[in-house]
């Protein structure tokens, strides 16, 4: 995302001396490895990289990445990142948040960081549960989720992270899941995007919400339920035997069968990452009836917040001298023993 000289590193260079303390089998391990594998491929420089997190299982992430890291307070990572980027736009900043941290207590900040288009990568680990506080339902839990705080089942409708991001004005929206081999590619696309890049990463909480994404994210056998999107390519899944077609009458996407690989004959539409209307449809596709749309759903950059702030500051400072003596004496002054002076 930043134009910096690529640095040669290996996965090992991004590991800290700290013992990783997630539950054995937690999806976070796979995401950590994917990130550590991706960073060398990006030519990222540990000294210019900052991982900022809020609170929750996912937010322990910075302790395990050998770069600069700031583990902040619940839900507020976007606000800290805003201060960091405005103070030093050259830093390559990654946000790590979860469904509770990012969409419940921190929903406001997530909305505004996306709206402002701060040039950062935002990884939202969605496990549809509060893990660190021992298993309460979260804003992405499905209706009927039984937890200690909802013993009879939750009744409120879940938030959809990617729909939230798009609605907040995000210019990059992507999806992946913890054990997916494609996750590094998604992360690379996010990093290449200039502006706020939002990535929802489905993450398996093996203790409190085990296998809740199994239908599309199981290590094996769920491939047919994954729709991996690629810009300009037909939206095919299930080994190319099915695809998505745009129904002009009803103004919606529909699943169609593809016979003998002839997707054109089946009317399968091609993905266009810059098509915001298509992105709105993709983030809303109900899973089950449709496959899970994965990869880069939307990518259409706009000028970043920090570049606008810096430009405005430069413009406002042009031709002005930062003279404290002049500043102190602004307005109408008078000299004791003398006469009033004209305003400076």
């Amino acid at each position: 995302m930043n134009d910096m000289t690529p640095i040669e590193t290996t996965l090992k260079d991004w590991e800290t001396d700290q013992e990783v303390r997630w539950c054995p089998g937690c999806g976070d391990y796979a995401i950590l490895k994917a990130v550590q594998r991706t960073l060398p491929q990006l030519g990222a420089d540990p000294k210019n990289t900052v991982f900022v997190s809020g609170i929750g299982c996912s937010s322990r992430f910075p302790y395990y990445i050998e770069s600069y890291g700031f583990h902040t307070i619940h839900g507020r990572a976007p606000a800290f990142a805003t201060g960091i980027k405005l103070a030093n736009p050259e830093l390559d900043v990654w946000l790590v948040t979860g469904d509770g941290d990012g969409l419940s207590i921190g929903g406001n900040h997530l909305m505004h960081v996306l709206r402002r288009n701060l040039n950062v990568q935002i990884m939202l680990f969605n496990n549809e549960i509060y893990g660190l506080t021992k298993g309460q339902y979260s804003p992405t839990s499905r209706v009927g989720t039984k937890t200690p705080s909802t013993p009879i089942g939750s009744v409120d409708r879940p938030a959809q992270p990617c729909a939230f991001a798009l609605g907040s004005g995000a210019r990059f929206v992507a999806r992946g899941f913890d054990v997916s081999k494609n996750l590094p590619e998604v992360l690379k696309a996010a990093h290449a995007h200039q502006g706020a890049a939002f990535i929802e990463i489905f993450q398996n909480c093996i203790v409190y919400n085990k296998d809740v994404f199994h239908d599309f994210a199981a290590p094996k056998g769920a491939e047919d339920q994954q729709l991996w999107l690629a810009d300009g390519e037909p939206m095919l899944f299930a080994g190319g035997t099915k695809g998505l077609k745009f129904d002009r009458e009803e103004c919606c996407l529909k699943v169609v069968d593809v016979v003998d690989g002839d997707w054109e004959a089946a009317g399968v539409a091609c993905h266009d990452v810059a098509n915001r209307a298509l992105a709105h449809m993709l983030v809303e596709l109900p899973f089950g009836e449709f496959p899970m749309a994965l990869g880069v759903l939307y990518d259409d950059p706009r000028p970043t917040f920090e570049s606008a702030v810096v430009a405005e500051k430069e413009q406002a400072s042009t031709g002005k001298k930062a003279d404290l003596a002049e500043l102190f004496a602004r307005g109408q002054t008078w000299t004791v023993g003398g006469t009033a002076q004209d305003p400076i």
Binding site: T72, F80, A87, H109, V309, K320
Partner: protein
Amino acid sequence: MATLAADKPAAVAPTPEAVVVRFAGDSGDGMQLTGGQFTLSTALAGNDLATFPDFPAEIRAPQGTLFGVSAFQINFGSREINTAGDAPDVLVAMNPAALKVNLDALKPGGLIIADTGEFTKRNLDKAKYDSNPIEDGSLAKWDVLAFDISALTIEAVKEFGLGNKDALRCKNMWTLGLALWMFDRDRQPIVDWLNAKFAKSPEIAGANIAALNAGHAYGETAEISGPLKKLHIDPWPTPPGLYRTITGAEAVSLGLVAGAKLAGLPMFFGGYPITPASAILHHLARLKEFGVTTFQAEDEIAAICAAIGASYAGQLGVTSSSGPGIALKGEAMGLAIITELPLVIVNSQRGGPSTGLPTKTEQSDLYQAVYGRNGDAPLPVIAACSPADVFECAIEACRIAVQYMTPVILLTDGYIANAAEPWKVPDPNSFEPFPVSFQTENNNEGGNVLPYKRNEKGARPWIKPGTPELMHRIGGIEKHDGTGNIDYDPANHQAMTDARKGKIDGIAKELVPQGVTLGEEGGKLAVVGWGSTFGPIRRAVDNCRKKGLDVSHIHFRHVWPLPANSGELLRKFDKVLVPEMNTGQFKTVLRDQLLIDAKPFNKVSGQPFKIAELEAAIEKMLEE
């Protein structure tokens, strides 16, 4: 404080030392503007002064109503002025509501100037007057100068062809003209200001100037009979130099800019609109050339978090709010404390609790500042006493923040933020710089950098992201002494808690020893204050001392930690009285920290102390 000449007709007006004037009108009448320009004229005349803008919370309250009254009080004189004055000598009442709301405060024998043009049946009803007070004799204990300012203004601006409504808008300038005549002031600076302000609409400028001149001319003719007398207040002998007027909000902004410059850092200001703190955001937003970045965040929490983020990245993070916003920032302050990052938090206090009295003044956030966070979370608290003082306090807050790697709270209040006073323009070179040096070398040869290795002040190194080889992680979980890694070990938590407390306590040792503001270093009674009660306490103690009473004034700028000699000093007095605009918060801190029998004297009305109230309290305390 002297009274205007009330004895008539032939007596020559004695020249008073000080005069209090209160301009009161409807919130749409431009009273704050009138007061502001009168203040400027007063300053240019060389008087010392203090002002008290007193306006409603409503942006545009319904016209003519009691709750829509806006007032501006100024006390000026040929001696040192400490407060905006207990009781006005002159009340300018632009309508019946303004008269009703402000009449009680007016000094007996004082002068009322009223616009009869507004004393209509409708307006009298709105002000809940059964009969016209100007005519029914109920104002007998005051001098009344009542005439139709509205009609006179319309007549004066006739040639400019304004509509009736626009013509009446010039009423405040007519009134200002009269006031300028009364106090023998030069009109030219106001004329210049009007020409500049309405440069794009010369007819409006012309009309306002005509109204100003007409008001002034009216004074000349009205002097012949009636209570109106021209008064000349001599200049106050002040040290030579360049002066300007300054409000607290301006002064805190300039102090922060100066503080950042002395630290050698760009400043990042995160704010969220709130009364009465917004003015600081507005001022700083215009100072980008001084390396200031302002960020209007989505809420109070984001404002402080962004400021902490900027500090983490190597700038001087600053945030500002008022009580309710400060409450929201509490958790983030704890993070700045545990991650030991510099930060300045300005609280322009207002009446509380909850939304309370947004436009009124109070100093009831002291507990919040000193004690109001989860966990053992100490931070230094500095309190400013006046608009001019807050400039120096802001520099001091910046210095402590960067030298001790800690958040610092700077307390001001609505009164300080809005009030104006003359300010001797300081020489920027007269302040000792305190340049920051970031850690750039590994401080742990052969191992990883130690972000929590402390210096002699107990401060940790400041390491900016982007520094080669010093990558490390910090956060809100208790960290290992030295490495900063997560550490839940009991002994480590004890050590880190002690280190954080020890660092803040240690600031007390390097503070300038607490002195006596007025009086002797010992005696029967010390009146102890902090914040904006400085003015009234000083004047009251001065008055009492002139009466021969054994009383001294001790004013604290550093309310946490207290200067190291505080207990020793206060123990030299038989009694300690602590007047506060709260229910006794600093009294508690003094009792807690110094084990002295500090007695409270409290007022929580949203209004500053009156000198007379304090004098009475002092006398009572000495009699007991």
